[in-house]
């Protein structure tokens, strides 16, 4: 029994082709058997004890996995018995779905596993068997990791901690790795790369390489983002963005206008369709109203005219009557009717006086009646003659008088006739002219009324009112929008300030944090440097001396010594027995004193702790940066979205205001236009009215002139006629008077004669009377008186007829004159009233007629416009693609009156569409050109398909705008800056992690070199020396990685705000960023070029050997193809392996754990000579390593091993392994 821990035995129960085998391994062991008999399988099973890694046993992918090949049955067991200082324990490996382990605190006994019939029992029964026997069996160990922890003594569970093979330190994993590597390396030539791999693999895990694919992916991702941002920031792109934005607005506006117009068109069309019949009806109604109005007016006119005519006639009648009465009265006056009337009143009294005179005369003449009678008869006779003569003359005079009177009358009649004719003609002409004048006057009055109507009419009132309303609404909305815009602009500014403040805060806090962490890291690095310096010098320092020469010095010297003293190399410590347990001869009780010295592991631990601290700090910084970025992104998201929305709103508001301004201007213009048109219309109508008025005025004046001329002409004719008549009458009168005067002279003469005769008679009579005594004087007086009375009566009688006529006329006419005049006045008044009524009716009629006409005209015009519009739409618009484009809007529009006619709308739409297409084409070109500048899978998602719809192009522009508004480029830059930081950091960390192991390699190589030196080659003189040394790697990728790491070390964490030429970028930062980008780019190219999958530890250095065997020295070389014979090569290889194994075991196990042995499994050592083998076994033995080797057949070499097992395949294809009886020559 060994007094140390060692894998003592391996038992296979139903493992692979082996039913049962129990193999002792406590010394050098040799397996002899031809190929494919299971030697390697058994060696793998042994290796599994050390490595507990079913995938690291060198089983190729084409072969069955370890679990399936080895553990085919429920009762397949691999049992490893480990011998210890006191009593052995064993490990059971079995399959319970996966491979699991149990530790049993007892030596292996087949009875635990087999029934009496030699049948292997199931694990439950095994456990039960053991428990029955009171043997401790651990719980099932499910993981390889935990199993290794237990075996290599790092298990913390006290129940299991005793089941260890050795006490490993934190690097114990190197032991199974080394054993595995030795087993797996089958090359016969010694290549430094292989040794490098060996060392590296032993020191690293599978994941501790730098996966270049991953790095390349990171670099690619970074590069792509970098390129995208760079493309975005280019001047061309910025210009294109501006153009896209501008064009999008234009296109959007045009589209909006088109849609608005399409809606108007639809509304107008619907309105036209629905209103057509109604308008037609309205027009017809207006026409009927007009007809009715005209009829009523005509009837009224007729009625008034009748009344006027009646009044006119009455006035004419009364006028005539009054005129005739006045004429007669004047004639009577001319005939001195007043005097006649006065005399007529005296007639009765004169008659009475005459009768008295007659009776007086008769009484005076009664005595001389005969004489009287004689003379009276003679006088009477004479008087009768005289009277007859006078009567004849008078008759003659009367004849003449009458003749001339007749002539005069004829003349007067002729005159009257001609005057009447002339007057009739005059009246006719004047009447014509008057009629004409009246018509013109009526027309004039109508025009005057019209003028008044026109002046009071507001043309285009609806349009103007609509426009005014619209303008008022528009101004109200604009005012509201302007206020809203101002508010939003303020909001934008305050949000921007808030955002900028937050950004600055975040930036400052990140900067502070970076500085703080870098300071802390620097501090820790200083600590590490200090620790490293201690560790580096510890071998040659006082510390190393104590380690080598003083047992438990930590508990003695370690408690009192100054730490700095421990690492001094200049104090030359020497052992002196006398003061071994005293301080310069003074004995001290150090029990209560605390140890101040630290073990190397503790220093190492401290160093690792600090490294971990750095990692933690960096991690925390990363997290902080990520959080910072996160906050930035949140802020960008929050503020950006708010800003974006606000800016969008502002844009919309500005756009609305622009539109409103344009609209206001347009509406104002339209209003002005309408007003002008209205004014113009009034003016035009008034002008035409005035022109007509002027014409009519002129015509009227002409007519009046004509009338005056006519009147003058006729008056002249009448005057001429009258003059002629007067002349003629005067002539006749003259002739009459001359003829009558002649007759009167004749008459006078004759009467004179008669009167003379009568006087003679009267004288004779008087003589006679006197003769007879009669008072002739008194008689004469009576006679005179009789004569006077008779003359007076005669004169009265002369006027009797006139007076009678006068009185008759007076009674019939003159007395009625006031009544007639009053009645005439009444009729005149009535006539005036009728005229006024007529004027008023005309005015009203004209007004109403104008209004109705205007309404009807408006309806007709609207109808025509509608029909024209509908026709135009059907003929020129419906079949165009533009209609298809806006069909939805047009067809779904609500019927509504708009200010635009359909034709204009269609034309404008078509015109606009052509403009829209032009603008849209430019917009599309800009978008294509812009998107084309980016990679197809750019991270901004700036991509547009060639057959993209208008909607997609618009969404592109919208997204681009959001991108700008939310300042996403800054986020992207920040992300990319973080990414470059992270990529650099990740590379630096990986390189550092990997390079960190380089020190271990250097250490291992130093140990190996040391171990080679210690090798006792001198005895056999076979190998004079084996030298090994490290050189710098010439791997291009690694060199670049290293440069990146150095860059990272030099500049700290690279948080690149200067990555792009933005506002943040400062000269220094830009320069650093530029270098970082360049390095990463170089690395990317190198990775592409080198086509290497990963950078492993072995790529970090070059390893060179120099071996001298006899006279042969290889010189410093990577690869030693042949040092000497094959055997020599195998020996050198085995020696190197054993050295490596030894070094790793020494390095990876606890210093206190020394009493253990491990196996070195090297297959196929058949070609090595016995001499060399012996040398090798001894070499191994000196390093507490047991060899397990395979030999193809027995050749005597097996005699050098403690145990030799032979392999035989039986008929049932099972393999039987049995010990070969040999004598151990040397163990």
């Amino acid at each position: 029994m060994e007094n140390c821990r060692i894998l003592n035995r391996i038992v296979q129960i139903n493992i692979a082709n082996v039913k049962y085998t129990d193999i002792e391994l406590s010394g050098n062991t040799c397996f002899v058997g031809t190929n494919n008999f299971g030697k390697t399988s058994l060696q793998r099973a042994i290796l599994f004890f050390y490595s507990a890694n079913s995938r690291g046993l060198g089983i190729s992918a084409s072969q069955k996995p370890f679990e399936e090949h080895y553990f085919r049955y429920e009762n397949s067991y691999l049992i490893y018995e480990i011998d210890t200082e006191d009593r052995p324990f064993f490990v059971i490996v079995y399959r319970h779905n996966k491979l699991v382990f149990r530790f049993v605190d007892a030596a292996y006994d087949p009875d635990f596993f087999f029934t009496s019939n030699n049948d292997a029992v199931k694990i439950k029964e095994v456990i039960s068997n053991l428990e029955k026997r009171g043997i401790f069996i651990s719980n099932q160990i499910d993981t390889f990791e935990r199993y290794r922890n237990i075996i290599y003594g790092t298990e913390t569970d006290k129940v299991l901690s005793k089941f260890h093979l050795l006490k490993g330190n934190e690097k114990y994993q190197n032991i199974p790795k080394s054993i595995t590597n030795v087993f797996l390396s089958s090359k016969s030539s010694i290549d430094s790369r292989f040794i490098k791999d060996f060392i590296a693999n032993s020191l690293t895990t599978e994941n501790s390489s730098i996966k270049l694919e991953q790095v390349e992916r990171q670099l690619r991702q970074f590069n792509e983002k970098y390129t995208d941002i760079e493309t975005f920031l280019k001047k061309d792109s910025t210009q294109l963005i501006e153009m896209i934005d501008k064009k999008y607005d234009q296109v959007h506006m045009l589209k909006g206008q088109q849609m608005e117009m399409a809606d108007k068109l639809g509304s107008s069309l619907r309105f036209a369709e629905t209103q057509n019949e109604a308008i037609r009806e309205s027009s017809k109604k207006k026409e009927e109203e007009l007809e009715k109005l005209t009829e009523e007016h005509d009837a009224f006119l007729e009625h008034i005219e009748n009344k006027q005519n009646e009044a006119h006639e009455e006035i004419g009648y009364y006028d005539r009557t009054i005129r005739d009465a006045n004429k007669k009265l004047k004639a009577y006056k001319d005939q001195n009717i007043d005097a006649a009337l006065e005399k007529n009143t005296e007639r009765e009294s004169l008659m009475v006086e005459l009768n008295i005179a007659r009776r007086e005369y008769e009484s005076l003449t009664s005595n001389v009646a005969n004489i009287e009678l004689k003379y009276s008869s003679l006088i009477e006779q004479l008087r009768n003659d005289k009277t007859a003569y006078i009567n004849r003359t008078n008759s003659k005079t009367n004849e003449v008088f009458n003749h001339f009177n007749e002539l005069q009358l004829m003349q007067k009649n002729e005159y009257s006739k001609r005057e009447a004719e002339l007057k009739h003609k005059r009246d006719e002409s004047i009447q014509d002219v008057n009629a004409e004048i009246t018509a013109k006057q009526i027309e004039f009055n109508e025009l005057k009324s019209e003028e008044k109507v026109i002046k009071s009419t507001r043309y285009f009132d609806n349009e103007i009112r609509d426009l005014e309303n619209e303008l008022a609404e528009l101004r109200a909305v604009s005012y509201k929008n302007k206020s809203e815009r101002a508010i939003k602009q303020n909001m934008v500014q305050s949000i921007q300030r808030e955002w900028e403040n937050l950004e600055t805060k975040l930036k400052t806090s990140l900067g502070n944090r970076v500085n703080q962490i870098n300071n802390e890291i620097q501090k820790i690095k200083d600590d590490i440097k200090e620790i490293e310096s201690k560790l580096n010098v510890q071998h040659d320092a006082f510390y190393g001396f104590l380690e080598k020469n003083v047992k438990n010095w930590h508990n003695t010297i370690g408690k009192v010594v100054n730490e700095s003293l421990l690492f001094r190399t200049d104090i030359n410590p020497e052992l002196s027995e006398s003061t071994a347990n005293s301080l310069y001869g003074i004995s001290l009780n150090l029990e209560p004193v605390e140890v101040v010295s630290k073990s190397i592991e503790e220093y190492q631990f401290e160093k690792n702790t600090r490294l971990a601290q750095i990692r933690d700090l960096e991690e925390s910084l990363n997290q902080f940066q990520a959080a910072n970025n996160e906050e930035k992104m949140l802020a960008a998201d929050k503020y950006g979205k708010q800003l974006g929305e606000l800016k969008e709103d502002l844009k919309v508001l500005s756009y609305s205001l622009d539109l409103a301004d344009k609209r206001e201007k347009k509406l104002s213009d339209e209003l002005e236009d309408w007003k002008n048109r209205a004014g113009k219309e009034v003016e035009e109508t008034l002008t035409s009215n005035r022109q007509r008025l002027n014409i009519i005025e002129e015509e009227l004046s002409i007519l009046n002139k004509k009338k005056n001329i006519l009147l003058n002409d006729f008056n002249a004719q009448l005057d001429k006629l009258k003059a002629y008549n007067d002349e003629r009458l005067a002539e006749l009168k003259e002739r009459q008077e001359s003829d009558i005067a002649e007759l009167e002279v004749e008459k006078k003469n004759s009467v004179k004669e008669f009167e003379n005769k009568e006087d003679e008679l009267i004288k004779e009579k008087d003589k006679n009377f006197k003769s007879k005594g009669v008072d002739s004087k008194q008689l004469k007086v009576v006679e005179n008186r009789l004569k006077e009375l008779q003359d007076a009566l005669k004169e009265i009688e002369q006027y009797a007829q006139i007076v009678s006529d006068y009185l008759k006329d007076k009674r019939e006419s003159f007395d009625k004159l006031p009544d007639l005049m009053q009645k005439k006045e009444e009729f005149v008044k009535n006539k005036n009233e009728y005229a006024a009524q007529l004027d008023e009716a005309n005015r009203k009629f004209n007004l109403k007629r104008l209004e109705l006409n205007s309404q009807k005209r408006a309806f007709d015009e609207e109808l025509i416009e509608f029909n024209n519009g509908i026709n135009f739409f059907s003929n020129n618009f419906r079949d165009t693609p533009l209609y298809t484009k806006y069909a939805d809007i047009i067809e779904r529009a609500e019927p509504r009156r708009t200010q635009h006619n359909i034709m204009d709308l269609c034309t404008q739409l078509l015109k606009n569409d052509s403009h829209f297409n032009e603008e849209y084409g430019a917009f599309q070109r800009f978008v294509n050109e812009f998107a084309g500048k980016f990679r197809i899978d750019n991270h901004f998602n700036f991509i547009i398909r060639n057959d993209a719809s208008q909607g997609e192009y618009e969404r592109f522009a919208q997204n681009l705008r959001s991108f700008l508004n939310e300042n996403k480029i800054e986020l992207s830059i920040a992300e990319t800056a973080t990414q470059i930081g992270l990529v650099t950091d990740s590379i630096a960390t990986k390189v550092k992690e990997l390079s960190g192991q380089k020190e271990k390699i250097e250490h291992i190589i130093a140990l190996i070199a040391e171990d080679f030196k210690k090798a006792e080659f001198e005895e056999s003189k076979l190998i004079e020396f084996i030298k090994i040394r490290l050189e710098e790697s010439d791997n291009k990728v690694y060199k670049l990685l290293k440069r990146i790491q150095e860059f990272r070390e030099e500049n700290g964490l690279v948080y690149n705000e200067g990555l792009f030429n933005t506002d943040f970028a400062t000269g220094q930062k830009r320069e650093i960023s530029g270098r970082a980008v360049k390095l990463l780019e170089q690395l990317r190219s190198a990775i592409k070029e080198q086509e290497q999958e990963e950078i492993r530890l072995q790529d970090l250095f070059e390893l060179k050997f120099n071996i001298k065997e006899g006279m042969n020295e290889t010189g410093w070389t990577h690869k030693i193809d042949s040092i000497g014979s094959t055997g020599t090569d195998i020996l050198v290889k085995a020696i190197i392996y054993i050295t490596l194994l030894h070094v790793f075991i020494k390095e990876s196990s606890h210093r206190s754990s020394k009493d253990f042995k491990v196996h070195c499994i090297i297959d196929e050592v058949g070609q090595i000579s016995a001499h060399y083998l012996r040398e090798l076994l001894r070499f191994a033995k000196n390093r507490n390593i047991m060899m397990i080797n395979g030999l193809p057949n027995k050749s005597g070499l097996e005699s050098h091993y403690k145990y030799t097992y032979q392999f035989r395949r039986e008929e049932n294809n099972n393999v039987r392994i049995f010990p070969s009886i040999v004598t151990e020559v040397e163990a």
Partner: protein, 200 residues
């Protein structure tokens, strides 16, 4: 004279290799770092140096709208004629492209199948495609492919994604349009026997 004497960018060789073949370097090209080459030439300092350098070997760098190309100093007329002949075939191609519903413009991305489909659906386009000379492909798709291939070779297009056969129109396409647009076709006159095409 050595390249170093001119303090030339290290991509000079790449630039020469592209442009000496008669190809263009467009700003929106991505294959073989074309956009980088463009940026390098576009740098005013580099441009002057490169221009001076290439002038020595009788090449002149011509600047277009976002693209560069070489012109030869004192090129013989026969060469010019050949060049012009090369453009003749593009007249029909550009005519076809300009007649498409989805206009092919700078930066457009399309697949030959899309164009072929559109041509197939539109008789006018189909006829235009069929009358394009020099190609013997039986299907419309293959014909468009050949056109795209030709244009890619002449660096007017770039095969951006081989899997999806997606092409991108490069900035140099402007050159093609400019040349085609500057062709003035004169009607047959009494003095000439046939229509003549003049390149301005």
């Amino acid at each position: 004279m050595l390249a170093e004497d001119f303090n030339l960018p290290k991509q000079t060789h790449d630039i020469f290799a592209v442009m000496a073949r008669g190809n263009f370097i467009s700003s929106n090209g991505s294959k073989d770092g074309m956009n980088r080459l463009y940026d390098i030439i576009n740098n005013p300092e580099n441009f002057e140096r490169l221009q001076a350098y290439f002038n020595v070997i009788r090449y002149n760098i011509e600047r277009g709208n976002n693209y560069f190309y070489f012109s030869k100093l004192h090129e013989p007329n026969s060469e010019l004629e050949k060049k012009l002949e090369r453009f003749e075939r593009y007249i029909d191609i550009i005519d076809l492209f300009a007649s498409m519903d989805n206009k092919i413009t700078i930066g457009s991305r399309f697949r030959p199948s899309e164009i072929a489909e559109e041509c197939n659906a539109n008789v006018r386009l189909k006829q235009k495609l069929q009358k394009i000379p020099l190609y013997r492909s039986e299907t419309l798709h293959n014909k468009v492919r050949e056109i795209c291939d030709l244009m890619s070779r002449d660096s007017y297009l770039e095969l951006e994604d081989e899997k999806t056969e997606s092409y991108k129109v490069l900035d140099a396409y402007t050159y093609l349009l400019d040349v085609i647009n500057s062709i003035a076709i004169y009607e047959e006159s009494d003095n000439s026997d046939a229509n003549t095409i003049n390149y301005n």
